[in-house]
């Protein structure tokens, strides 16, 4: 059934249909509409279980870790500083292997305080061991939130999973979304069966002290599980496509086959980039576009295969790694091709920070700059910077 609603409410509907038992939430723009709607679901009885209106995001993450350990399906959502405040517990959630699902409405991190979209909140959390997925529109946010539970809870994975959507651009935009009914979602998501539980009948010790004799092995096992999530992502998206039609890939490509230059981005700007590609193609330019949907685990082979044959990669990073060589996608791409003799030339553009507009002109400009072949100073360029 097609409904017209904002991205945040598409998520709260997905969470309701997933029969989430415990949700913890704390207000932060632009995520707040999600937990407001979920609170209403609990209040009107369309969701059963508990909503915990915690006193901080740090406690939000801790509460869902505790709840998940008890054997229930859990959800929370946050943005920006809320995600930063959770930082410590994000590592623990993945290390104790709790299949929590979290929605991150991506927003810039202070200072200056800025509530608009970029990826400076999620990128510092890149290494926390979570499965990390990016959506480009309201429909994707809805579908991916549902699939996130299935990926997280798979016995081969058992890792927390976060779905990222650009703040305001997706969280607050009202658009048509094809919704599933309860029977369809139940068919996709069987009841959550916890692998381990805090159960007096069968006591377990969870979150112990581990010294150097075991720590590496624990981290290796965690890394293997995160790597396995790539295969599970493919299985779950294939099942979703077969059941409901919408197709999702770890690496999404558009007009890449004969492209000389491929634009690479993550998040909602992918749609703008594809419009730019259409216009450039109409003008005879061989340009393609690639969206990284599955950021962690990074689908390395799939990524390299998708851009094979391109001369230039024009990367748009909505996050700056200060004192480094640009943004995280730029680093990832350079690292992917480091030892290849015939790899593409890689150009990294830092833009779209703090909600700065990214238009078709932006993508045409990065393709133009990449085509000059001129090496970038310190491997990156700030775009659209006003210097006076």
């Amino acid at each position: 059934m097609r409904q017209v609603l904002e991205g945040s409410h598409a998520i709260s509907e997905a969470v309701r249909l997933a029969r989430v038992q415990v949700t913890a939430g704390y207000p932060i723009t632009p995520q707040t509409h999600i937990i407001e709607a979920i609170s209403e679901h609990f209040a009107d009885g369309t969701m059963t279980g508990r909503f915990i209106p915690v006193e901080s995001e740090h406690s939000s993450m801790a509460a869902v870790v505790g709840a998940a350990t008890t054997g229930v399906r859990t959800f929370t959502a946050t943005s920006s500083h809320g995600l930063a405040l959770m930082h410590e517990i994000l590592f623990i959630a993945s290390s104790v292997r709790m299949p929590i699902v979290m929605l991150v409405a991506n927003r810039a991190v202070s200072a200056p305080i800025n509530i608009w979209a970029d990826h400076s909140d999620i990128m510092p959390e890149r290494d926390t061991g979570w499965v990390q997925i990016f959506a480009e529109n309201g429909q994707e946010v809805y579908d991916l939130t549902l699939m996130a539970f299935k990926i997280a809870e798979d016995k081969r994975v058992l890792l927390p999973t976060m779905v990222n959507m650009d703040g305001f651009t997706l969280s607050h935009v009202i658009e048509p979304v094809v919704m599933l009914d309860q029977a369809e979602v139940d068919g996709l998501l069987p009841p959550f069966e916890a692998a381990r539980m805090l159960d007096p009948e069968k006591p377990h010790t969870i979150g112990p002290f581990g010294d150097g004799t075991v720590y590496t092995e624990v981290k290796m096992a965690q890394d293997a599980a995160l790597a396995a999530a790539a295969g599970v992502f493919d299985e779950v998206t294939a099942e979703f496509a077969q059941k409901f039609g919408n197709q999702y890939q770890a690496i999404e490509t558009y007009q890449c086959d004969d492209a000389e230059t491929i634009i690479i981005s993550m998040g909602s700007v992918g749609e703008t980039a594809r419009s730019a590609v259409d216009e450039m193609r109409a003008g005879g330019q061989k340009v393609g576009q690639l969206s990284i949907r599955l950021w962690r685990p990074f689908p390395l082979a799939r990524f390299k295969e998708a851009v094979a044959g391109a001369q230039n990669l024009a990367i748009l990073d909505r996050h700056l790694i200060p004192g480094c060589q640009g943004g995280p996608i730029g680093l990832e791409a350079r690292s992917a091709f480091y030892q290849d003799q015939n790899g593409p030339c890689i150009f990294d553009f830092v833009a779209g920070l703090g909600g700065r507009e990214l238009s078709r002109a932006t993508f045409k400009e990065i393709v133009r700059q990449a085509a000059t072949g001129e090496p970038q100073k310190n491997n990156h360029t700030f775009l659209d910077v006003r210097l006076s």
Binding site: S56, S60, A63, L198, P200, T205, P208
Partner: protein, 269 residues
């Protein structure tokens, strides 16, 4: 909050339960009063219990992976958030019970931490959990400083006390006076039962167990938040023999942190 009366149970060394939740062979120091207190807490609770533990000696000494001393379900997440973890556990158990996936809903949930993990870094999550009215029992083991990290001052370090970060002794004029957790929490409306106990002698040990049982009754009957502060000697870091340390609890600690029941709302106290 209901004001129904709760029956007191007479506690004596004779009726102390045989049940031990913590196996011998754990790595706590000789004479550790915190471990003694923890054993007592679990005796008072019995085997139908879930424990959420803040970072500290009790976590480090009992769970050197792949070993564990715990015979009951136990979880550690981090230092400052044991109350939030307990909130999640309590909410999830209630959700499971409401769905019929748990046969009963009177499993005791204990959240515990040291004085630093309670009065300093863990105070926000404790305050939030208390305000939201989660049904769990919080136990604070107070030995007057951060002992696991090596004797640093906390907000429960009393005036004059030496620690590695108050090398001249806590100077109230410079560092302010300590926080008395029980007195403060008793003023909050959501707190049902608040008591400070000690485990320095048999008489106090029995009083402690009585207070703990009462706190658990508050939890299982949904009568309000239960908080029990247990004054515990730390012979190793107080640089004393266990006997001297216990005597110090009686001679010095209790005079600054008086024992007693600060709130017993259901009794109408």
């Amino acid at each position: 909050m209901s004001t129904q009366a709760i029956s007191y149970e007479k506690v004596s060394p004779k009726n102390l339960p045989q049940f031990e939740a913590i196996a011998s062979g754990h790595r706590a120091c000789q004479g550790c009063a915190e471990m003694l207190a923890q054993r007592l807490v679990l005796k008072a609770a019995g085997p139908d219990v879930i424990v959420a533990n803040a970072t500290g000696c009790m976590e480090v000494t009992t769970t050197p992976y792949p070993q564990t001393a715990w015979k009951v379900p136990w979880m550690h997440v981090a230092f400052e958030n044991a109350s939030a973890v307990g909130s999640g556990i309590e909410a999830a158990r209630k959700a499971l019970f409401a769905k019929g996936r748990l046969a009963k809903n009177d499993t005791k949930i204990i959240v515990m931490g040291g004085d630093g993990g309670t009065a300093d870094i863990g105070f926000q999550s404790l305050s939030g959990a208390l305000e939201r009215g989660h049904d769990f029992t919080y136990v604070c083991y107070d030995n007057e400083a951060y002992m696991n990290t090596g004797i640093q001052r906390s907000s429960a370090t009393p005036p004059g006390a030496w620690t590695t970060t108050s090398p001249l002794g806590r100077n109230v004029e410079l560092a302010g006076p300590p926080i008395r957790m029980s007195e403060m929490l008793a003023t909050l409306e959501g707190a049902g039962f608040v008591a400070r106990v000690a485990v320095n002698n048999i008489k106090n040990l029995m009083k402690a167990k009585k207070a703990l049982k009462r706190a658990f009754e508050y939890q299982t009957k949904g009568l309000g938040f239960g908080f029990v502060e247990v004054l515990s000697a730390c012979p190793t870091n107080w640089k004393m023999s266990p006997q001297e340390a216990n005597q110090r609890v009686g001679n010095e600690m209790i005079s600054y942190f008086p024992l007693g029941v600060f709130k017993d709302a259901a009794k109408g106290a």
